[in-house]
Each structure stands twice: as structure tokens, then as C-alpha cells.
Symmetry: C2
Subunit: 349 residues, 2 copies
DNA sequence: CAAGGTAATGTAACCGGTTGCATAAAAAGT
DNA sequence: ACTTTTTATGCAACCGGTTACATTACCTTG
């Protein structure tokens, strides 16, 4: 059907072994022979059949990113896809390809993504911590199958993983508010069952402690996910006797809803109420005023995960690696009080 | 190393051919033998080696989505990724896998994505029209390599392609404004070098013509891409003697910038100026007022492309298919004048 | 009961590369 | 000039499935 190594060998008057060696730039080949073979390849329009190559080497040079995205909207998808881009960017120049495996669509056909492992379709796996389970980890470790987890796992897993430094994120956002003379800072997160939310809360508490502020349980809320949750929560805060003067939200949309509520109630921002959010999502930059957020470099997260995985593939080791990535704060209008609005030291209560 | 078909054959006391037949559910196998073989597989923990299978069949059951995304921001990535999701959703239940090939990262290693074709790494390709060129098409057609283009190509290409109905998008958005009693409707697009922008303009002109309105060249602008472009353009419009009373923007961010400008100049929206945009992007829903947009179902676009490609892979044909997808308008606050605000027929000029 | 047909299984070639080992030719050492 | 080493190439097995063809056993049917 198409041109094979045999055709090239015949045309060049050498053995298939020699052609193969030319393909792989073996230095055992004399320049003249190499030249001859290369000419034959060019004339015949030869391309090595990658499937055969994979078969001989027993690897595919493909790694899979497993995701568990339900029907994506423009809202919920940027996260994985930036990670995806980072992975791609790292592995492609190294001759690897990226396969996407959505656990939700894959599951329809039975075994889910573990099929990829057992059938040797891919050389390694990057998967979110949400898909981790003991059973699977054991299987993969029994096979010495390389994999990297995105997101810090709960205690009891000794695996390769990468995550952003969520504690640091909680800490710098809170510290920033403290430095802008906010006093009663609330903290609103998603579910505290998720380790990353626990870490963010830890950071918040650490920042308070470092500045001699004691946490108020009434100011710590969990379970906010939507614009509407944010609106409701902020309304509730503002109806209180002793409301917070600033809020850290771990979700951008929640912060957006809260901002609307604060504006609807006529609060001046950031003078009367400060807001810091997480994940530098488009709306954060476009809202009025633009929202201060912790910027999480997900492209870099992908790069780190990919780098760790390729290392594991190329020289497997028994010691596992972990990597925590720094985050940075993007200061915008919802938190930075103008200098003149800060009380001078002697004016403070 | 791992369990192969030979091990299973030996354990079950049959030949490898028999095991292979059991694997493929051949009906030539007696139930007792099948049972025996399946037991052996279970006991040994056998999984077929997919690389070997691919080698025998000379296919990979992988299709590639080629993209040409530069460093993605949360702004620019939703488009491809919704298409990606659609493809995935369609192909996974059918036993195919999705590979992502970013032309930009791939190119670092030389030949770019055409490598995928010649090395037989994938069974088919879905690629954006922006990456199309005659040279490539000829090569792929010479090899009978299945591929589908996303986006209508310029004249002169007879290939499989899918696209959203851009003309319809231009038409329904304009018609909607006309039906809301807007009279001087401007049209602002990206570059008219892009066919999809030409089609959108066609739709706009068609809608005007159908309602007996004649186009005014001063109201047709091209080359707007950013929030800032939108702001500048809207400012310019509002400074005119005879400004438009509504604008169709083919880009959401441009519309967002324009909206800010209109608000900054104190115009009431939609009473004094109407705005319709394209692509139902997050900011469209969250802005004040929320922006009316044409909703483009990119997930469905992916599904259609994937469906066309698998069909081509499974039974290659020489006749090419094209598919144009409908769009729908999401009516929001920037265009819908309240009934009472519309002039009654006898009040019109 | 022999001939013909069918169902179940085995044998071995094949898919297209890679690579250990053998070998031949050239270069170096004594 | 003769052995030893180095360099270049070929032979053939191998990776793990699939499948055309051969073979055997059993089942019909005249």
C-alpha cells in the first residue's frame, strides 16, 4: 500500500537494518550509505510507519490528560484548558503527543480511563485529584505505570503531584486586605471537603494570626459556588449588626455576585467594603470596579505536571515528587484604598 | 513482561488464533471454548495490547484536532475547547480517542501536524480553515486521508467542512434590531478578509434589504478586535452628526467596550442605542445591561465535524460533505425595547 | 454407508519497524 | 605481514496481535 522500509532498502541496495539505522541517526552508518538511503527515501516519498515503531518499542509517545468535565459552558472550562495548553506546550517539542480523555464520555464504553493504562494506549497519565482512588493507584503502581496528579491528594497517597500553593493564595489575599486597613475580613469558599479549600482557609487564618487578628467564626462561610450565592451572602453580610469590611472569595463568579449586591446596597467599593477573589477570570477584569484576584498560572501548572511525568517516563524512580507553585496577587479596584483614604497612624482607633 | 495472548492460549490449552477470536467475539467459537479462554484471561489478568492491535489493523482509532492557539488567556480559549468537547463526546462512545495537536507547539519540531498524517499516527484529522492550504490538501487527498475542516473554506476547495451559518447570524441579529424599531443600524466586524466576516456582513445586508432599508457605507466598519477598539468606535459614532441608533458587533469584547463607551457618554441602553453581539461569552451575560448575542453552539459544531469524519473513516467516499449549523439569538437587555417604549404606528415619523 | 457440508480449531504468514549477534572490511598495532 | 581492533553492514528473531487457509470432527442426506 504505502512505501515501507523494505522498499527503501531495495531501492538503496542495502538491508532494512541499515535503513532503520539511518532513520535513527545511528553513528555506525557511513556517510555515503546514509546519503544513498536518504536519497532513496526522498525519491520514494517514504515516511516511517509510526504504528510499527510503537510496536517495536512498546510505547506510543502519547500521554493522556484525563478530565472530568461535564457539558462545558464558557464559564467552567477555562481551567482545564489552560492546563492542557501548558502540557501540550511542554511535551510537543519533546516528541510526545497529548490525548484527551474525558472520564464522563469515556465511561459510556465501560471501564473508563483505566483502559488507557491496561491497553498500553498511552505512556503516562495526568489526572485530577478528583478522579483518584486507592484501587486505581494500586493497579497503576503494580504496573509501574507513570502518572501525575493535578491537585494535592488527601493524606495516605504517596504519588507524584503538582498543585498551586493554595495556602499562600489564602494568605496573600488576606494580607493584602489587612495592609489596606481592612479590619473585619470574611472568608467565603466552596466546600471545605475539598482539600484546596481547606488550604486556602489555612492561609487566611495564618494571615490573620500574623497580624494579631483573631478569626470570627461568623465571618467564615463555605459552600458558595454561583453568582447568586455571592449575591445572597453579601446581602446577608450587609444586613448584620457588625458586618465585615472586606471579603475574600475563593471563586470569581461568587465575588462577582457579591460585588453586584454591594453596589445594589449602595456601598462604596473599596472604601466601605473590600473584595478579593481567586482565579483571574475575564469578568474580574471587566467588572466595575475590576476585581482584585489571586492569579493562578494554570499554564505553568500544566508544564510542571508534564515535566514531572516525562521525567517519570524516561527514568522511572520509586521516590515520588511533589511540586507547589507560587501564586501572585493582581491588585485592582475592589481592594486598593487610595493612600489618602487610609487613616494616619494617630487617627486609628 | 506483561501477559500476552500466548500466555492465555497456553493456559487455556488452545491456539492464539482461538484466543484472538474470543477477543473479537467471533461466532465461530464454541461456547465452552470461549468460557475456558475467558477464564484464563481473568486469571492471568490479561488485557490486549493495543499497540499490537493497531499494528495488525494499521489504524489507531485516534483522531486529531489540530488547533492554532497561541498562549491562551481565559478570554481567547473557550471557542476551540467547546468544539473539542463536542468531538470528544461524539467519538469516545464509538471507541475513538482524541489527540490534540497545537500547530504552534508542534511546529517547533519541524514538519508540523502533517507529520501526524504521514506517520499514520491518527486515522483522521479535524482542522480549522485557517490552517488550510492547497499543498496540504493535495497531499491528504493523494493518500485518501480523511479530514474535515472547521469553517467554510474559500472558493476552490472541495473538502468536507462544517461551519455555523454566519450569514444567518448576521441576518437574525440585524432583523431583531429592526423589529425593535431601530432605524440606523451599524455593523462592526473583524477583518473582511475572513470569509466568516463576509458572510455575516451578507446577512446584515440581506436583513436590511428585506426590510427596505438601504445600507449606509459610513455605518459599516471592519477591523475591530478589542475592548478598546469597541470603546473608540462607539465614541466616534456618538460624536457624529447622524449617529447610528444600534450596532451589530461580531465580537463580544468589542461590544463590551462599546457598551462602556455608550454608558460613559450617558446614553440610555437600549432606548437610545441598541447593541447586539456574537458568541455567547460570559461577559455578555454579566454586563449591565446584559448583552444580546447570537449564540453559536460550538459543542454541536464539534459533534457534526466528528460525525462527518468518522463517516469518512468508516466508508471513504469521493463526494464531499458540507454542513451549515443554525444559530439562535439570545435576547437580553441591550436590544429589547420595552413594548411601551416603541412608538405606536401612528407616532412614527 | 459414502459423499458433501458445516462448525470449530490450528498453523503460520503477516503487519513494519528494531536490534543482538554474526560477519566482512578497513584501520591500527607489533 | 599478521594479528587485533574498529567500523560498517547483513541476517533473522522479535514485538503481539489478526486472519487466510488447512485440517479435523461432526452432522446431514441420498
Amino acid at each position: 500500500m504505502s512505501v515501507t522500509i523494505k522498499d527503501v532498502a531495495k531501492a538503496a541496495g542495502v538491508s532494512t537494518a541499515t535503513v532503520s539505522r539511518v532513520l535513527n541517526n545511528s553513528k555506525l552508518i557511513s556517510p555515503q550509505t546514509a546519503e544513498k538511503v536518504r536519497n532513496a527515501m526522498r525519491e520514494l516519498g517514504y515516511f516511517p510507519n509510526n504504528i510499527a515503531r510503537s510496536f517495536a518499542y512498546q510505547n506510543t509517545c502519547i500521554i493522556a490528560l484525563v478530565v472530568d468535565i461535564e457539558e462545558p459552558t464558557a464559564f467552567n472550562n477555562p481551567y482545564f484548558y489552560q492546563i492542557q495548553y501548558g502540557i501540550e506546550k511542554y511535551i510537543c517539542p519533546k516528541g510526545y503527543y497529548l490525548m484527551i480523555a474525558n472520564e464522563n464520555t469515556l465511561n459510556h464504553s465501560g471501564t473508563g480511563f483505566s483502559q488507557l493504562v491496561f491497553e498500553k494506549r498511552v505512556d503516562g497519565l495526568i489526572l485530577p485529584v478528583s478522579l483518584l482512588n486507592k484501587h486505581l493507584v494500586k493497579k497503576m503502581e503494580d504496573q509501574n505505570f507513570p502518572f501525575v496528579i493535578i491537585g494535592e491528594p488527601e493524606n495516605g497517597y504517596d504519588t507524584n503531584w503538582v498543585d498551586v500553593n493554595n495556602k499562600m493564595a489564602g494568605e496573600i489575599s488576606t494580607t493584602h486586605l489587612i495592609e489596606n486597613q481592612f479590619q473585619r475580613i470574611a472568608f467565603v469558599s466552596g466546600s471545605q471537603k475539598d482539600l484546596f479549600n481547606k488550604r486556602r482557609l489555612e492561609g487566611y487564618l495564618t494571615a490573620l494570626a500574623k497580624h494579631g487578628l483573631s478569626p470570627d467564626p461568623d465571618l467564615i462561610k463555605e459552600g458558595a459556588f454561583s453568582k447568586e450565592d455571592g449575591y445572597a451572602l453579601m446581602s446577608e453580610f450587609m444586613g448584620r449588626q457588625n458586618p465585615p469590611d472586606a471579603v475574600v472569595f475563593t471563586d470569581n463568579l461568587v465575588a462577582f455576585g457579591a460585588l453586584s449586591a454591594a453596589k445594589a446596597y449602595g456601598r462604596r467599593i473599596p472604601d466601605e467594603i473590600g473584595i478579593v477573589s481567586f482565579d483571574n477570570f475575564p469578568v474580574a477584569e471587566l467588572s466595575e470596579p475590576p476585581i482584585t484576584t489571586v492569579d493562578i498560572d494554570l499554564i505553568n501548572l500544566g508544564i510542571q505536571a508534564a515535566s514531572m511525568l516525562l521525567q517519570e517516563i524516561q527514568l522511572p524512580s520509586t521516590t515520588k515528587q511533589q511540586s507547589l507553585l507560587s501564586v501572585r496577587l493582581i491588585k485592582r479596584g475592589t481592594s486598593e484604598r487610595a493612600r489618602r483614604e487610609q487613616p494616619a497612624p494617630w487617627e486609628r482607633s
